[in-house]
C-alpha cells in the first residue's frame, strides 16, 4: 500500500448562496499523478483554492504529510510543501530565468548583496536535472510558454514541494511540448513527489495519471484507478444523468428537406478548432455536445464574428457570409447568448430596459434619438412574455437573479427577430424553474422558424431539446446523432470513441 501524502475529508466550502463543495474527499499518495475530473462547476478549482489557502474552508479536515493543515495564505501552503502551477504563470517575465527561480529567496553574499553567481550555477544545475538546457541569464519572456512552465515547476520543486498542483498545464502547449512536460512529471514521480493534474483532455489523463477522483456539482463521485475505468464510464460519471428526470419529448425529424441556414466548411483556428464542417438548417435546434475544451464555444465565436478563423469559410443562406465582427453577424440575423453572463453578457449598471434593447437601439432611433415609446412597448412585452421578475424596467440588471438576467439576455436577441440564436450554456447557474421556462422558450423559437444552436455540458438537456446533435472532441466533429438516435449513452459513447478514431486517422 502506497504511503498517503494528502488526505481531505468532508471538505465544505460555501459562498453566499452557493454550496460549492458539499463534503468532498480526496486522497493523494506519495509519488502518484492524481487527476481531478469534472465539468465546470464541479468544484475542482474551489478544492484547489481551499487547499492552497486562497479560500478558507467552512468544514472538514485536510491532512498533509502526517499533519493536519489549514493554510490561510498561498505562502503558508508553499511552506508546508504544496506548490501550484497556475494557468496564468505567476512569474516575472522581464526578469531572467535564474532570478525567477530564486524570486523572494535570493542567496546572499557575505556583504548582504544578491549572490548572482551562486544563483546562476544552481539554476543551471536544477534545470539540467530536468533535461532543460537553456541560457538561464536570458529574460524568461525570451522562451516559450512550455519552457516558462518548466521553470515554474523547477521553482516549485526547488523549494521542496512535496505536492505540485497543475491546473490545465497543457492548455497552451503543442503536442511535443506536452511530451516534454510529461517527461518532467515522470521525473517528479520518481523522486516521490505527488502531482495533482487537472486537464480537460482525456487522452492526456489516460497517458500520465495513475488515479483519479471525479466530482460533479460540488460532490464527490468516486475515486478510481485509471486502468479500472474506461472513457465511456468516466464521461458518464462527469456529465451523465440529470438528477431531474425529464424525458425527451420530441419525436420525428422534420428537417431532412429544410434549406440550410448556415454552413461552416473546414474551419480551423489555432489550437482549438481543427477543420469543422457543420450545417444548421432553418428552424432546427442543433446541439453541440462535447467536453470542455472540445471547441464548442470557439465554434460559436467564429460563427458570430468574435474571432476570425485561420482557415475555412462560413456560408449564410448559401452564400459566403463575410462576417468580420459581431455587428456583422447581428446584421445577418444572429444572436449570441454567451456562456459567461457576467463578463460577456450583461452591462451590469445599466437598467433591464437598456440591457434588453442595447442591440436593437440602432434600429430603434430617429435622428439618433431613442424612440422611447416603442422601446417601452418592446420591453414591457418581453418582460411579460418571458415572465422576467424585476421591480421595474429601470432596475439595474445586476440586481436581478441569474435566471432573470438570462431571460433579459434572451429577450435582447429575441426582440431583434433573429434567424439564428446561438445559446452557449443557456441554463448554467440558474434555478430549475427558470431552466424549464428557458427550455420551453427554445421550442417556441424553433416553432416560429428560428434556428437554434445550443451548447450545453449537460447532455440530458441537449437530449430534451435538440433535433440533431453534433458531437465534438478536441476541436473536431466526431459524430452526429439525429432524432431517434439521440440518447445520452449514444452521445457519451461517441465522445469516448473519439480518441480511438483519432489514432486511426
Amino acid at each position: 500500500m502506497a504511503e498517503v501524502l494528502l488526505e481531505i475529508k468532508g471538505l465544505e466550502k460555501t459562498f453566499p448562496g452557493v454550496r460549492a463543495l458539499k463534503g468532498v474527499q480526496l486522497t493523494v499518495n506519495k509519488g502518484e499523478v492524481h487527476a481531478l475530473m469534472g465539468e465546470n462547476g464541479a468544484g475542482k478549482s474551489t478544492l484547489i483554492k481551499v487547499l492552497t489557502g486562497i479560500y478558507q474552508k467552512n468544514g472538514g479536515t485536510i491532512r498533509f504529510d502526517g499533519k493536519e493543515i489549514d493554510c490561510k495564505t498561498p505562502i503558508e501552503a508553499n511552506e508546508v510543501g504544496i506548490s501550484t502551477i497556475y494557468q496564468e504563470l505567476n512569474l516575472v517575465l522581464f526578469q531572467t530565468v535564474y532570478e525567477n527561480l530564486f524570486l523572494g529567496r535570493e542567496p546572499r553574499t557575505g556583504f548582504g548583496a544578491v549572490d548572482r553567481k551562486a544563483m546562476i550555477e544552481q539554476t543551471d544545475k536544477i534545470l539540467k536535472d530536468f533535461g532543460i538546457h537553456i541560457d538561464v541569464t536570458k529574460p524568461l519572456k525570451a522562451y516559450s510558454t512550455a519552457i516558462q512552465q518548466m521553470v515554474a515547476i523547477a521553482r516549485a520543486v526547488s523549494i521542496n514541494a512535496k505536492l505540485v498542483i497543475m491546473d490545465e498545464p497543457t492548455s497552451s502547449l503543442d503536442k511535443k511540448e506536452v511530451q516534454v512536460l510529461f517527461g518532467i512529471i515522470r521525473k517528479l514521480k520518481s523522486r516521490g513527489i505527488a502531482v495533482i493534474f487537472i486537464s480537460h483532455k482525456l487522452d492526456e489523463i489516460y497517458e500520465i495519471c495513475d488515479r483519479m477522483t471525479v466530482f460533479k456539482d460540488g460532490e464527490y463521485v468516486g475515486e478510481y484507478d485509471i486502468k479500472d475505468i474506461d472513457q465511456f464510464r468516466l464521461i458518464s460519471l462527469m456529465v451523465g444523468k440529470d438528477t431531474v428526470a425529464l424525458e425527451r419529448k420530441k419525436t420525428g425529424y422534420d428537417f431532412a428537406d429544410a434549406s440550410p441556414l448556415v454552413e461552416v466548411k473546414n474551419i480551423k483556428q489555432g489550437m482549438r478548432l481543427h477543420g469543422i464542417n457543420a450545417v444548421i438548417k432553418q428552424g432546427e435546434v442543433v446541439g453541440l455536445a462535447g467536453l470542455l475544451g472540445s471547441g464548442r464555444t470557439e465554434l460559436a465565436q467564429v460563427l458570430f464574428g468574435v474571432n476570425m478563423p485561420d482557415e475555412g469559410e462560413v456560408f449564410w443562406m448559401g452564400s459566403s457570409a463575410g462576417i468580420h465582427s459581431p455587428s456583422d453577424a447581428i446584421k445577418k440575423g444572429m444572436g449570441f447568448c454567451t456562456e459567461d453572463r457576467k463578463v460577456e453578457g450583461i452591462v451590469p449598471n445599466l437598467s433591464v430596459k437598456e440591457n434588453m434593447t442595447i442591440a436593437l437601439l440602432p434600429k430603434l432611433q430617429k435622428f439618433g434619438f431613442v424612440k422611447k415609446k416603442e422601446q417601452d412597448e418592446i420591453v414591457d412585452k418581453y418582460i411579460e412574455r418571458l415572465k422576467i421578475k424585476t421591480p421595474s424596467p429601470e432596475q439595474a440588471i445586476r440586481n436581478l437573479s441569474g435566471g432573470n438576467q438570462q431571460k433579459v439576455l434572451l429577450a435582447r436577441w429575441m426582440c431583434m427577430n433573429p434567424k439564428l440564436m446561438i445559446l452557449d450554456e443557456p441554463t448554467r447557474g440558474i434555478d430549475v424553474g427558470a431552466k424549464a421556462e428557458i427550455e420551453v422558450l427554445i421550442q417556441e423559437l424553433s416553432k416560429s422558424g428560428i434556428s437554434v444552436l445550443m451548447i450545453s455540458s449537460e447532455i440530458a438537456e441537449l437530449e430534451r431539446n435538440c433535433d440533431r446533435i453534433i458531437v465534438m472532441r478536441d476541436g473536431k466533429v466526431i459524430g452526429e446523432v439525429i432524432d431517434q438516435d439521440i440518447h445520452q449513452d449514444k452521445i457519451m459513447e461517441l465522445i469516448a470513441q473519439g480518441s480511438e478514431s483519432e489514432g486511426m486517422v
Binding site: V306, G345, V347, L364
Partner: protein, 319 residues
C-alpha cells in the same frame, strides 16, 4: 414602499454634490459680504467657462472608463492656431481650422485607445506634452496679443468680453449650448447609451454589436472639440493666445469637476449635470477664499479635501 437605509444612502449619494453646492451658497450668503452682487456672478460665468466646456467632453470620456489629460494642451493649440491665422484667412475660417486640427488629434487618441487598446492615460499624456509643444512652436514661443492683430483681434476679443444686453457675459452661450447638447446626447440618444454601455462592460457591448472603437474615436474627438472651443473662448477673454500657459492645468479642473459631479472613474455612467455642479463647487471655493482674503494655497488644499470627500461618498458601498 418603505424606504430602507440603503435607499437613503443612495439618494444622499446621488445628490451629495448638489447639497455641497447649496451649503456653499448658504455659507457665502451669510458670511461673505457682497456675495450676490451681479459682477460677482458674472465673474463665475466667465471663469467657469473652460472648466465646463472641457468637463463636458471629459464626462463622456470618463464614462467610457478612460481619461483625457490632453485637453489643456488642446486648448492652447486651438487658441494659438485661431489667433495666428485669423489675420490671414479671416476669423471664422481660423476658428474652424483650430477646431478641426484639435478634433483630428482627439480622433488619433480615440484610435489608439479604441482600436489598439492602449492606456488612455499614457496616450493623452503623450498628447498633452506633444500638443503643448506644437502650440508653442506655432506661436514661436511668444504670446500673441490680440491688440497687435488689428481689426481681427478686436473681433476675436469680443468672444471673450462681449456682454449680452450689456449685462450677461458672452460665455453663457457656449456653456448652455454645450451642457444641453451633452445632456441630450447622454440621456436621450442611442450614442449616449452606447458610450455608457462601453464604459460599463466593453466586452458585452462589443458582443451586442456596438462598434466600440468607433465610440472611443467619437468620445475623444468630442473631448478635443470641446477643449478647442474652451481654448478659443479663454484666449478671447484674456485677449492673448499664449502657447505656453493657455489652458495649463485645465485638464485637472475638468477631471475634478467630473469626479465631484459623481461620474465614476471606472466608467459606465455619465452625470452631465453633476459635472456642472462640480465645476460650480470648485469655482465657489476659489471665490469664497478670494472674497474673504484667504490666500489661494488654502483654496487649493480645500479643493483637494472636497475631491477626496466626493470620491469617498460616491464609492461603491461595501458588500
Amino acid at each position: 414602499m418603505t424606504r430602507t437605509k440603503q435607499d437613503t444612502i443612495q439618494i444622499l449619494k446621488k445628490y451629495s454634490a448638489l447639497v455641497m453646492l447649496l451649503v456653499f451658497i448658504v455659507l457665502n450668503s451669510l458670511f461673505t459680504p457682497n456675495f450676490f452682487q451681479l459682477g460677482n456672478l458674472n465673474n463665475v460665468i466667465t471663469q467657469i467657462c473652460p472648466t465646463i466646456l472641457c468637463g463636458m467632453g471629459m464626462t463622456l470620456v470618463i464614462s467610457t472608463g478612460g481619461i483625457d489629460i490632453s485637453v489643456g494642451s488642446v486648448m492652447a493649440l486651438a487658441g494659438v492656431m485661431t489667433a495666428k491665422y485669423m489675420s490671414q484667412i479671416g476669423i471664422f475660417p481660423a476658428i474652424v481650422l483650430g477646431v478641426l486640427a484639435s478634433v483630428a488629434l482627439g480622433c488619433v487618441v480615440g484610435f489608439f485607445v479604441g482600436v489598439l487598446r492602449l492606456q488612455a492615460m499614457v496616450i493623452t499624456l503623450g498628447m498633452m506634452l506633444g500638443v503643448r509643444g506644437i502650440a508653442q512652436v506655432l506661436c514661436n514661443g511668444r504670446d500673441i496679443y490680440f491688440n497687435t492683430l488689428g481689426d481681427a483681434g478686436a473681433k476675436l476679443a469680443a468672444f471673450g468680453i462681449y456682454k449680452i444686453g450689456g449685462v450677461i457675459p458672452v460665455q453663457i452661450i457656449p456653456i448652455v449650448v454645450a451642457v444641453a447638447a451633452v445632456w441630450i446626447l447622454a440621456e436621450k440618444m442611442v450614442l449616449g447609451r452606447q458610450i455608457q454601455a462601453v464604459g460599463d462592460n466593453i466586452r458585452s457591448s462589443m458582443l451586442s454589436g456596438i462598434h466600440t472603437a468607433g465610440v472611443m474615436m467619437f468620445v475623444y474627438g468630442f473631448s478635443a472639440f470641446c477643449a478647442a472651443f474652451a481654448g478659443i473662448f479663454q484666449s478671447a477673454r484674456v485677449c492673448v493666445a499664449a502657447g505656453s500657459s493657455l489652458g495649463q492645468l485645465a485638464e485637472l479642473d475638468a477631471i475634478a469637476a467630473v469626479v465631484i459631479g459623481g461620474t465614476p472613474m471606472s466608467g459606465g455612467k455619465a452625470r452631465v449635470l453633476g459635472t456642472v455642479i462640480g465645476a460650480l463647487i470648485m469655482q465657489m471655493i476659489t471665490l469664497t477664499c478670494v472674497m474673504n482674503n484667504i490666500p489661494d494655497p488654502y483654496a487649493q488644499v480645500f479643493k483637494a479635501l472636497i475631491i477626496v470627500f466626493a470620491v469617498y461618498i460616491q464609492r461603491e458601498q461595501a458588500k
